[in-house]
């Protein structure tokens, strides 16, 4: 695969002119404002793109992609810019195509809705009947786009019962790098599943039909408090063992609780070393029974359980959980959010390990995560102005992810590989696996122009390292 002759020059005037002809002057960004698109929510690396385009229709996107193909221009797709793994950082001089304007709702009926990729997850709820809901709810759902959610197979709190975004995609209309449009439905050898979680490396999602679930009759909350992290970890396993499938099962450790209680998200949780926040939903008889069994499981693991005494308290508990990440600013405004996924039974081990790593690098660490599906979210604070400190935080994160892999985990549960976790791909996958991935990439994007150097670890000298941090991220230790 040859890649390196394909760089876009910032002063490629004819490209700029042609793009302007397609979308209009207002929607092409050429000056200093390009910098505003130099990074998503992955903070350690910023690279200014040569050009930013904001097409307003599917037709315009298709025309741009055809133009880029003819000129062999590298590009990537950006949605709301919330990636935590750097999947939309234009490291290889890619033009950024922002799809925020493609936020139309085309059709909604029964348990399905068809939308453009730029619509925010939150807004789906405004277009559907009140007795149904869209289940995937990543913490960024107030802003993250459906296109980005699909590209990252985003999870959220409701995955234990309703699955990740993968389980909520019915069909996709994708635009391939050769300019052709395909409607995919996932049947037989149809490659729809490849596009869910491909991090914008195979094609562009132009339209998605999503699955809706009927709203459960009732939903109840249970809070379990523990005197040590180990018991809380055991209780997660025990709850499943007794036959309960919670709608949500969230874990917060003491550092997270302290942070939350010191910010606007103050929840007044009971005193504990760790808590589990559990949501059970369904019909009343089933929920009653699940409540009873969950309480037994908690008691068996030396936990104390609490039910909210009012709607207000219930809301406060959940808002506290939702605010746990941003509350980490109590320790450090910049932080890395890991998302390795481990078997539930190894939760106590990995949690202890995260604290040890925090001590080793003298960095603040807290854990607040989706225990129900084993997706960890260790948060590691660092000072983004200090390069050495930043690299230390990255190293700490890497140690934790490596350890998660030895416990049988996967490198990323929901945030994606992007550039952040490239080096874990060869650890988790065999070289044959990676070769197959490269072949898949090649069949969709033979020119290697769509979001290159992400997700699949690059071969030597295939990708430019933009600075020390990027170099460190791409190198296998």
């Amino acid at each position: 695969m040859s890649t390196f002759k394909l760089r876009v020059k910032i002063n490629d005037v004819s490209l700029e002119r042609e793009v302007t002809r397609i979308v209009g002057e207002e929607w092409v960004i050429t000056g200093q404002e390009r910098e505003l698109f130099s990074y998503p929510a992955f903070l350690p690396l910023k690279v200014t793109p040569p050009l930013v385009v904001l097409p307003g229709s599917e037709e315009e996107v298709i025309e741009i992609v055809k133009l880029f193909k003819s000129k062999r221009t590298k590009y990537l797709i950006r949605g709301a810019g919330t990636s935590l793994s750097g999947s939309t950082t234009p490291t290889q001089g890619e033009v950024v195509i922002s799809l925020n304007r493609l936020n139309k709702v085309f059709y909604t009926q029964g348990l399905e809705i068809t939308v453009g990729p730029g619509i925010a997850n939150l807004h789906i709820g405004k277009f559907i009947d009140s007795d149904v809901f869209y289940a995937p709810d990543p913490s960024s759902y107030v802003v993250s786009s459906i296109g980005g959610n699909i590209s990252h197979d985003s999870g959220g709190m409701h995955t234990p019962k309703y699955g990740t975004t993968f389980n909520s995609v019915v069909s996709l209309r994708v635009l391939l790098p050769d300019g052709s449009v395909e409607d995919l439905n996932g049947r037989n050898l149809d490659p729809l599943p490849l596009f869910v979680g491909s991090e914008g490396t195979l094609g562009i999602i132009l339209r998605a039909t999503l699955r809706l679930f009927p709203k459960p009759g009732i939903s109840r909350t249970l809070l379990a408090a523990f005197d040590n992290v180990e018991d809380a970890g055991k209780a997660v396993v025990e709850i499943y063992k007794v036959g309960v499938t919670p709608a949500s099962l969230e874990f917060m450790d003491k550092p997270s609780i302290i942070a939350v209680e010191n910010t606007q998200y103050k929840a007044n949780y009971p005193e504990a070393e760790a808590i589990l926040l559990i949501e059970l939903d369904g019909n009343s008889i089933q929920v009653e029974e699940e409540m009873r069994r969950s309480k037994l499981a908690i008691s068996k693991c030396n936990g104390r359980f609490y039910e909210p005494t009012s709607e207000e308290e219930k809301t406060r508990w959940w808002i506290g959980r939702k605010g746990a990440f941003p509350s980490f600013a109590y320790y450090s405004p910049s932080y890395l959010t890991l998302d390795a996924n481990v078997p539930r039974s190894s939760l106590p081990k990995i949690l202890e390990f995260t604290y040890a790593i925090g001590r080793k690098y003298s960095l603040p660490v807290a854990n607040c995560f989706h225990a129900g599906d084993g997706t960890l979210h260790p948060l590691i604070g660092f000072n983004s102005e200090d390069r050495e400190n930043t690299i230390n935080a990255i190293k700490a994160a890497e140690e934790i992810t490596y350890y998660a892999l030895t416990l049988g985990g996967v490198p990323s549960g929901e945030h994606g590989i992007g550039i952040e976790k490239l080096k874990f791909m060869p650890v988790y996958y065999s070289s044959e696996d990676i070769e197959v991935m490269r072949r898949i990439k090649e069949s969709f994007d033979p020119e290697f122009i769509l979001n290159p150097c992400k997700l699949i670890p690059p071969k030597e000298k295939e990708c430019i390292a933009v600075g020390e941090i990027h170099k460190h991220l791409m190198e296998v230790d």
Partner: protein
Amino acid sequence: MEVEKLISMCTHCGFCLETCPTFSVTRNEVHSPRGRIEAIRSKIESYGLQTCMFCRLCETACPAGVKYGQIVLPFRKRNVKQSLFLRSLESPRATYLLLKGSQKISLKEAQRFKEFTKGLKVERQIEGEDDEPEIVLFPGCLEGVLFRETVEKALNFLRKRYKVKIINGCCGLAHFSAGNIEKAKELASRLGTIKKPIVTLQSNCAAHMKEYKELFGLEVEVFDFAEFLIRKGVDLPRKEGKVTIHYPCNAYRKGLTKYVVEVIKKMGINVREMEDPQFECGSGGDYWITHPEMSDKVREIKKTKIEKSGVNTVISTNSVCSLSILRSGFKPLHVADLL
């Protein structure tokens, strides 16, 4: 706090984007709170800094508590026409004269003013005070001139219970939003000497005046009209009807709109909630005059949200919001109009 320090709190998560009216209509990072903060952080020229409506709804969505307003304020540039309009708000007489005069001028801005005030009478503000007044009624700069009847109703209602003094003028929010902090401070100082409780008919003025202490070190006891009615436990008449309620942006951010809802519900009026009631009305202080195109796009979205409620009568407790609502073909009513 220094701007750099305030900026460093922004973790670039983007949670603010969808609350921002100008991002909602452009879908462009340039016109988003995160984009604006980033422009200041990287010291670049960005048109986005001039398109902010300064509703500061982004602050309500920010998980890290970033003080967006304080960050962007020093970077907002005023144009001459905007300065003229703001100057006129500083004296009640000048406000009256400008609004009256604008009906006859053919300037683009004056035309727009005419469109937005169609059907309203431009009148002189009510003045006067009882002996030994207990409270001050502060109608707000535009209310007294464009909605004199509302001021009358509020005054009559309050005078049955309190001795009242009316003070006309400007709280300085418009100047503050435009980045004219010195003038905003001067206007605040004028009201800052009042030692009696102030009741205002402008929810956004109430919100701004509640920030006098943080911004200028001035302490005033100020209530939004609905807040005053609830907190003083004033008996409310029963009324019939069906309304939807608009939440003025600053008042929403300061948690004042809940009092408006409470007053309306206590009166027994049927409330049909509109979608995102706090979404910017399109006025943005004097934004509707200085940025007509963007303002109209925002107003269009607001119009759709109001329409979805299925009700034509909109409770609006801020006069510039009422102008936008009126322009979109709805009937704006202040809480005082119902008394």
